[in-house]
């Protein structure tokens, strides 16, 4: 057997896996995803696409989102986690990533899930920048998304960039402490380098203009905003979404902010995870 590129080698005869690696999307630049088929009687018409965070936050949140996806699938909700173009196992270089491309990738993911599950309604869950990407996609495709979970959403791109710069500065300071000297020019990070990842010029520009409070179209019927801090932007987003006719629930939980924790800590915020699961599984479509 000689599998084709960007394909999945068939797993004939094996027991049904709780997760299936998949490729989908455009020819020449397919996206990689992990599909969690429903392990219980399928909830009529309901499937979930998870929009992951970006850069180092993507690495740090991977375990959390895998645990969440597996848990929902065990309860009967099929779930797709996927990597945007230029991220994770998908094709492309990180420096080619743009918000516009990521939003288009969400569309490919939604199409894949509809085809794979015959879902009549697809929900989106976005974490951090993934929440902003999910919301922008949904607002541009009215009526196609059932519900959304926006988990610690990046509401303003400038705030996200400021947070990245602060984290990079802390990392630089920590390095100076360890080495007893500042980085030489050759060792210094560039202006678009954020703790291990270089953002594209286009993405930095898009982030500078990103403001979810400017949303003018209703992205879907119901939204859960989950805030793991005391971010006033979460309240502002709730007000804005209610203003365009969305039913919004804002929940605050002081769970650990996983996107700030090193992966070796293996943290999974159980309380937040259970809240999200309950909300997604609570009412019939």
């Amino acid at each position: 057997m000689n599998p084709a590129s960007d394909s999945v080698q068939p797993d004939a005869g094996a027991p049904v896996a709780d997760v299936e690696p998949v490729y989908f999307g455009r020819d020449g630049a397919p996206l990689f995803g992990c599909f969690h088929p429903a392990q219980a009687p399928v909830r009529e018409g309901s499937a979930l696409v998870i929009c992951q965070p970006f850069g180092q936050e993507y690495i740090r949140c991977h375990r959390l989102l895998r645990v969440l996806a597996a848990s929902l699938a065990r309860s009967g909700m099929p779930v797709l986690r996927f990597d945007y173009y230029g991220c994770g196992d998908s094709r492309g270089d990180g420096e080619e990533s743009t918000l516009e491309r990521c939003e288009a990738d969400v569309g490919e993911a939604v199409r894949f899930v509809r085809g794979r599950t015959r879902a009549t309604s697809v929900d989106l869950l976005g974490l951090r920048l993934g929440a902003a990407i999910a919301l922008r996609h949904a607002a541009g495709h009215r009526g196609q998304i059932g519900r959304m979970v926006l988990w610690d959403p990046v509401v303003r791109g400038e705030d996200f960039l400021a947070s990245m710069r602060a984290q990079s500065a802390r990392f630089g300071k920590w390095m100076e402490g360890m080495f007893g000297r500042p980085a030489s020019p050759a060792e210094s990070e560039g202006p678009r380098d954020f703790i291990g990842f270089r953002l594209s010029k286009g993405l930095v520009g898009e982030l500078g203009a990103l403001d979810l409070l400017q949303v003018e179209e209703s992205p879907c019927r119901r939204v859960l905003v989950l805030d793991n801090g005391e971010d006033p932007a979460a309240s502002a987003l709730r007000d804005r979404l209610e203003g365009v006719g969305v039913g919004v629930e804002l929940e605050r939980r002081s769970s650990p902010r996983i996107w700030l924790a090193e992966p070796y800590q293996g943290l999974v915020p159980r309380e937040s995870l259970e809240l999200v699961s309950r909300w997604l599984l609570a009412f019939p479509k």
Binding site: A17, H62, M178, G180, D193, F197, Y264
Partner: protein, 308 residues
């Protein structure tokens, strides 16, 4: 990088529960594929893309050079489901890497393997080489001892802490400010100093014995013709483990040509700084670029090692 020079496919690997892996290989007609493939192990709890997506970048770079690889998640980590038999990670990791080699042998017709890992993956890589004769190369990036016991870990930790206090903290105004205002962990400082005083300059026998055993394992691998690459971040504790294992013998080992050591300056344990990422990719690509092209040199080096 030329995106058309390589191709990838995802594959469930091994016995149930299957592990999730991604094979990267040269695109058909692009390069003459080599019979040696690379198994990319994880780094702690980071999933198979690796810290800072480095395993993806490395795999694609190698594929463009004609070298196939498989990056995967051990059971219970990343995208792979947990083990069903309750076995610990340490106990299962070597067998899982062997399952990956079995897969590459059956589906990609590879008969020799280089195993490469970062942090805990480096320790697993060495153990895989000891357990499987198909391994011809081991790449260890910032690894510790070979399944280091707690006494060795404690010794190296204390050594690193004391070095930090002596070289940096005592000359740093901020450190003194923190010390005088109670913002340091006095217990940790005290414990490190006591341990260092108790041990003097040499490791305690328990540590020295474990280090000798590991050094012997490494020499055995070299005698088998296995090539070994150690990559250390400049200030990483992995350098201390290496020094404890080999001491003055390190020079002799590297002179054999079978052992190569590289140090990346001004970089952290998981290779976060961008300049160090490029250096890491260059080092591994360059090392693997030599594979299978220096058979006579290998034989000479092995003869020298065995005759010693």
């Amino acid at each position: 990088m030329n995106m058309n020079a390589w191709e990838e496919y995802a594959v469930p690997v091994g016995a149930h529960p299957r592990m999730i892996g991604i094979v990267s290989r040269p695109a058909r007609g692009e390069q003459r594929p080599r019979t040696t493939a690379v198994v990319l192990l994880g780094a702690g709890l980071v999933h198979h893309v690796g810290p800072n997506r480095l395993m993806v970048l490395l795999a694609r770079r190698l594929a463009a050079r004609g070298i196939a690889s498989l990056r995967f998640d051990h059971r219970g980590i990343g995208d792979s489901a947990p083990r069903a038999d309750g076995q610990s990670f340490e106990a299962g990791a070597v067998g899982e890497a062997k399952e990956v080699m079995d897969h590459l042998q059956a589906s990609e017709a590879k008969d020799a393997f280089v195993v490469l890992g970062i942090c805990s993956g480096a320790e697993t890589a060495l153990n895989v080489a000891l357990a499987d004769p198909r391994v011809v190369g081991v790449g260890m990036i910032n690894g510790g001892g070979q399944g280091a016991g707690s006494a060795w870990d404690t010794y190296e930790y204390a050594r690193g802490q004391v070095r930090h206090y002596v070289r940096h903290a005592v000359f740093n105004l901020d450190s003194w400010r923190r010390a005088l205002t109670g913002r340091i962990q006095y217990r940790r400082l005290f414990a490190a100093l006591v341990l260092r005083m108790r041990n003097g300059l040499s490791p305690p026998e328990e540590v020295a014995s474990a280090a000798r055993e590991t050094a012997g394992d490494v020499e055995g691998l070299a005698a088998r013709g296995v090539r070994l690459l150690w990559v250390h971040s400049e200030k990483d504790f992995s350098r201390d483990y290496f020094e404890t294992m080999f001491g003055k013998d390190a020079g002799r080992l590297t002179a054999s040509g079978l052992v190569r050591t590289e140090v990346i300056p001004y970089i952290d344990h998981t290779l976060t700084a961008r300049h160090g990422q490029e250096r890491f990719l260059d080092i591994v690509e360059n090392w693997l670029g030599d594979f299978g092209r220096n058979a006579d040199g290998d034989a000479d080096a092995i003869a020298r090692m065995v005759a010693r």
